[in-house]
């Protein structure tokens, strides 16, 4: 496959000025007093080299500040690298940040026109494709309203639909697939697959490791401005998570003097995190009391987390998941901001998650819970395989079900005459 994008020893250094925007007076003073040398630099990208083949979907992961956005901007041809170069083969388009790219006072239709013309199309060609974009974005009744009246979901839909329809060779999407409802996200993913099938290249970033793993052919892990790994999604993401653990440990050693760091002995499973915020206990409750015996199918389950903050945090992120013995994720709720979901987090709080009836097959499961800072850059407290529960069978005799979910099924067998059978089977 020919190459789509090639980054060759890419380095980007930003100048950090103390207060920006700098005024003319400051600039003149600096020149007169010869203080120009006193500037700070931040190395956003450090000698990054990689190449991407055409027809691939490549994910870029890295915690906040790892250089993802800088890299995407340079790949889009925005700004000049301090050293090194980017070569791309074909038209590049980018959905860089949500909220930029459209003019708020112009209507959706006018913004589509701007986007189309910037993608090198003639006026008439844009008019031709306009309806397809509006239909895909499902914005028929809003398209002649100013974009500033749109919700963020509508904005995203329009941006995505326009970017896809104007058909660049290389599309770069920064962290946008995570917005919008699930149905539309599914529609986008399908569209992305056809995009790839036509030999186009897609570069995405996301905090959602699951999405990256299922979508991408290749994943690039950035850490402190360097590419740590470029490889298949599974091993790259493992590496990414290892890095997260390493960062957690590093931070834990820094904060241990302030925070309580009880190296808890666990009956089973493992626990990691800086313990600045802890999940002091996890109780699994069913029918009003903590479970001791296996649950039977259809029984309710409440997961209760006692959260304790040792340092005051304005906000936290939290995950609550149920995993099978073989580590299959059956269910995971990701709360990326507890403050917006539940209100400000107190020093001691109880978080309850009630499941009316567990739609799971018999077996042993683990409740894995975690607390994280909102940028997901490390772990406060994560309980892995520490809280098991068992579900026992109550299935139809003589039948074994396998898989993840337990569906409510009804079976029936009746006999029919032979001629009716033939017509029924030919249908």
């Amino acid at each position: 496959m020919p190459l789509a994008v090639k980054a060759d020893h890419l380095t980007k250094r930003y100048r950090v000025l103390r207060n920006r925007p700098m005024t003319l007076r400051e600039s003149l003073l600096r020149r007169l007093t010869g203080k120009a040398a006193g500037q700070d630099h931040v190395l956003a990208l450090d000698n990054v080299t990689f190449s991407i083949e055409q027809g691939q979907i490549v994910g870029i992961v890295g915690h906040n500040g790892a250089g993802k956005s800088t890299l995407l901007r340079l790949l889009c041809g925005l700004g000049r690298p301090t050293s090194g170069r980017v070569t791309s083969n074909g038209m590049v388009n980018g959905l860089l940040e949500l909220g930029t790219g459209f003019h708020p006072d112009l209507t959706g239709r006018q913004n589509i026109m701007t986007t189309g013309i910037l993608n090198g199309l003639r006026h008439s060609e844009v008019v031709k494709r306009q309806d397809a974009i509006i239909a895909f974005a499902e914005l028929e009744s809003f398209i002649d309203l100013p974009v500033r009246t749109y919700s963020s979901g509508m904005y995203l839909r329009l941006a995505f639909a326009a970017a896809m329809e104007f058909d660049p060779s290389i599309l770069i999407i920064d962290e946008v697939l995570t917005v919008g409802d699930e149905r539309f996200q599914q529609k986008c993913l399908e569209r992305i697959q056809t995009f790839r099938a036509r030999g186009k290249t897609l570069i995405v970033t996301s905090h959602d490791a699951g999405l990256i793993q299922s979508l991408c052919d290749q994943v690039l892990v950035l850490e402190e401005g360097r590419v740590v790994v470029q490889g298949d999604p599974k091993s790259a993401l493992t590496c990414y998570h290892d890095l997260m653990r390493e960062r957690t440990n590093r931070r834990a050693s820094l904060v241990s003097s302030k925070a309580v760091l009880p190296h808890l002995l666990n009956a089973q499973g493992s626990r990691q995190g800086t313990q600045e915020a802890t999940i002091a206990s996890v109780r699994l409750i069913s029918r009003g009391k903590e479970i001791v015996e296996p649950l039977s199918k259809g029984q309710d389950l409440t997961i209760e987390l006692a959260i304790e903050l040792h340092v005051a945090f304005p906000d936290l992120a939290c995950t609550v998941g149920i995993f099978s013995e073989t580590h299959v994720k059956c269910f995971e709720a990701v709360i990326s901001s507890m403050k917006t979901t539940f209100g400000a987090v107190q020093h001691h709080s109880l978080l309850q998650c009630k499941i009316e009836s567990l739609p799971l097959l018999p077996g042993t499961y683990f409740v894995n819970v975690g607390l994280f800072p909102t940028d997901w850059s490390f772990v406060y407290d994560f309980h892995w395989q520490m809280h098991p529960f068992t579900l026992i069978s109550s299935e139809t005799p003589g039948m074994n079900a396998a898989g993840v979910v337990s569906l409510q099924t009804e079976w029936a067998v009746t006999s029919i005459p032979a001629n009716a059978f033939r017509s029924a089977s030919s249908m």
């Binding site: 930003y14 920006r20 925007p21 700098m22 005024t23 003319l24 007076r25 600039s27 889009c76 041809g77 925005l78 700004g79 000049r80 038209m91 590049v92 388009n93 980018g94 860089l96 940040e97 930029t100 790219g101 459209f102 003019h103 006072d105 112009l106 006018q110 026109m113 701007t114 013309i117 910037l118 993608n119 090198g120 003639r122 006026h123």
Partner: protein, 250 residues
Amino acid sequence: MIYSADLIWHLVQRDFQLSHIGSFLGVGWRILLPLAQLALLVLVFGSIVPLDIPDYPAFIYSALLPWLWFNSTLGSSGFLFLGNRDLLRRPNFSPIVLIVANMISTLITFLVSLPLLFFLLAWYERPVSGAVVLFPLILLVQGVLIFGLSLIIATYNVFYRDIAHFVSIILPMLFFITPVFYRPMAEVEYSSWFQLNPMTALVRAYRAVFFHGAMPEWSAVLIVAAISLALLWASYTAYRNRLPDIIDIL
């Protein structure tokens, strides 16, 4: 090239749409604003403090229109890059087209007022001569001047926001030292400091071809053309060097 032309034309339309959203008169304002300014000047310097210039409205209007092109283009240059972040953050976009689009948008204001100028000239029975065909040439020289100034203002205002404020102080001052609504005394007219203002030579050239039906002073126009080209080169070089930083800052 076709792509750039399409893009520029689209941006001009966009500018029109943006500046007339929600206004009743819409594009009509583009004709009304110069007229209002003309009315004010005629009132003040025709009746209140009379300057005794014959055919005064036509005298002013032949110089006011080019002045307003200069004034409104430079006045809006400061925020051309800052105010169009949405465009500057797209791949394949060259910010310089914003300068051109803005110039064309304001030039259209100039051109749609031309019929009114000809009407005034005819009304006062001014002599019309073949010199009028030189109008596009003077327009071109002024275009180069405006382009260079506009580019340098837009570029440096990204780094030093003082520039736009400075320009908004300078422009009204410049209006009074440019002979738009008066005829300077002869000894002032030919003094070098008065000629330093490049708009002086241009305004006099426009007035020569429209109002007097005569040839412009070639030497003055040529000097302005040379200065404008030098300025264009300097500002384009500055823009080229600063472009990556502009994108980083925005």
